[in-house]
Amino acid sequence: MSYEEGSGVWILAEQENGEIHSVSYELLGRGKELSENLNTELCSLFLTPDSQNAEELIYRGSDKVYLMEDENFDRPDEILYKKNIERLVEEKKPEIILVGATNFGRSLAPRLAASLETGLTADCTGLEIDEEEDFVQIRPAFTGNILAHIYTDRSPKISTVRYKEFKEAERNKNREGEIITLEPIIEDNKENSSIMEIISPEEEINLEDAEIVVSVGQGLKDPEDLGLIKDLANSFEGVLGASRPLVDEGWISREHQVGYSGKRVKPRLYIACGISGAPQHLAGMKESDIIVAINTDPSAPIFNYADYGVVGDMYDVIPELVKQLSKD
């Protein structure tokens, strides 16, 4: 049940096998500023099969860590997580809860908000406290074309927060805080929804965390020619990305897809090879630090978003780039 007003800023420390996802440190970074503005405490919720990283949440700025340890938390089970978080929320009444906008966070947070009968603002890119000490959540909508400023008139106010939008909280091993261990409610709801199998991807690629991404689009004439793009990616020790049409063609697996319906990336360097720059692709990469476009069509929209552009055929330009890069 929602309530009029609470106190405390909470973040959900998302983990996999006890390893904390780095979006959680970003939540602590922003959460610290919010809690200082509101003169309240910053708490982490840590539901995990392995508690050994709980101290890490203190080093990163938590005043308190609410720890629930149970082997069942190794499963991304929305109902199990929701029940345990909800019980604690009803008891402690926080004002704000921040959840990383990972796939699991975006699947869990709505259940929590629906059950608590409160507002949830999805995929926030800005979180502020205004002059009246009200919490403002800022989020892109309309496929990233507008930014909406949203207020919630009940508590807790819940946000899912986009990855890589805020700076990670600094780590300080001398910080002190309290770890409060709680007994989780473990109910067997495996009957209703259970995990049958977990398949790891054939190749480990981590587009979202890559420093350099080299992507290819419909300028590619044949899947055999992917080697050319891979060579360029290798020259930068970068990761290979692609636009949706190539994934739809089955030329490359969807783990590589950058864009609105794929991964959103924000690397130091993004090289778009033979990508014209459809809005859906731009939504996934236009916030990269440096953007390079290689395209035969000088009027391709991608050039409007590029820091450096090469008008030319990528089949001619890329081998030259690889050659230049291999020189000392």
Partner: protein, 268 residues
């Protein structure tokens, strides 16, 4: 195997490629573009229709919106839905995600006795992706989000694949349950002209707030039932970069580009 009763909530959205945004007023000019069915909802509908074709049963689509949203519901009938319901009335207007989920959940309670609800991953306008899981919570049923593949249907459950934590999780979802699907789940078929003509004449049921009063608390509908409100909308100026463009022969362009990147600490 028993046949299936499938519910698909759908939304009418502006054509996102063409809709204009008034930067000074900070608002969306909805009259500037045609409307269409939210593209992700077409994947949800296609999957439901495929299951119906295989196992028998019925597909019911549901949309909350003004009477113009009937065209979206007609489109769903042309694409294989058997019944379409419009939730319309001033009492529903201005709903945020929680209130929208509550209203849809109330309508689904009235429909009753369903096996599965199929939702798109998100809408291209609201972009929140949370109405699906919220409906599941309000109906107290399990859900699986971001389903990229439906593997099989068993007597009382569905086996699906979902992307979580950079892996594929194969999950069993027992009926009644809800899935949200990604664009990878299928390629929606186009309706035939004959189906379109038939859908033109079909009846669309209309339910107002009063019809749902035994299934939900009217105080939770619409603007007044919404915990969140949009205070203002910014139309960020399109970030155009003052790109340096090289149009030399490939070796020369490549040399210049590599030198610029090296100056910025990139490349060996």
């Amino acid at each position: 195997m028993p046949d299936l009763k499938l519910v698909v909530p759908i939304k009418q959205v502006p054509d996102i490629e063409n809709v204009r945004f008034d930067e000074e007023e900070g608002r969306i000019d909805r009259s500037s573009a045609e409307t269409e069915t939210n593209p992700f909802d077409l994947n949800a509908l296609e999957e439901a229709v495929k299951l119906k074709e295989k196992f028998g049963g019925e597909v019911i689509t549901l949309s909350m919106g003004p009477s113009q949203a009937k065209s979206t519901l007609r489109n769903s009938l042309a694409r294989g839905a058997d019944q379409a319901i419009l939730l319309s009335g001033s009492g529903f207007a201005g709903a945020d995600t929680w209130s929208t989920s509550y209203t849809l959940a109330s309508a689904i309670k009235k429909i009753g006795d369903f096996d599965l609800i199929f939702c798109g991953e998100k809408t291209v306008d609201g972009d929140t992706g949370q109405v699906g899981p919220e409906i599941a919570e309000l109906l107290d049923i399990p859900h699986v989000s971001f389903v990229s593949k439906i593997r099989e249907r068993n007597n009382d459950n569905l086996i699906v694949e979902t992307d979580l934590w950079d892996k594929i999780y194969v999950k069993k979802l027992v009926f009644p349950g809800l899935v949200t699907v990604t664009k990878d789940v299928n390629e929606p078929r186009l309706p035939t002209l004959k189906d379109k003509m038939k859908a033109k004449k079909a009846e669309i049921d209309e339910w107002g707030p009063g019809v749902l009063k035994d299934y939900g608390n009217e105080d939770n509908f619409g603007y007044l039932g919404s915990p969140t409100a949009v205070d203002k909308v910014e139309v960020p100026e399109e970030e155009v970069r003052k790109g340096e463009i090289f149009r030399d022969k490939p070796s020369e362009s490549a040399r210049k580009l590599v030198s610029r990147l090296k100056d910025r600490g990139l490349g060996r």
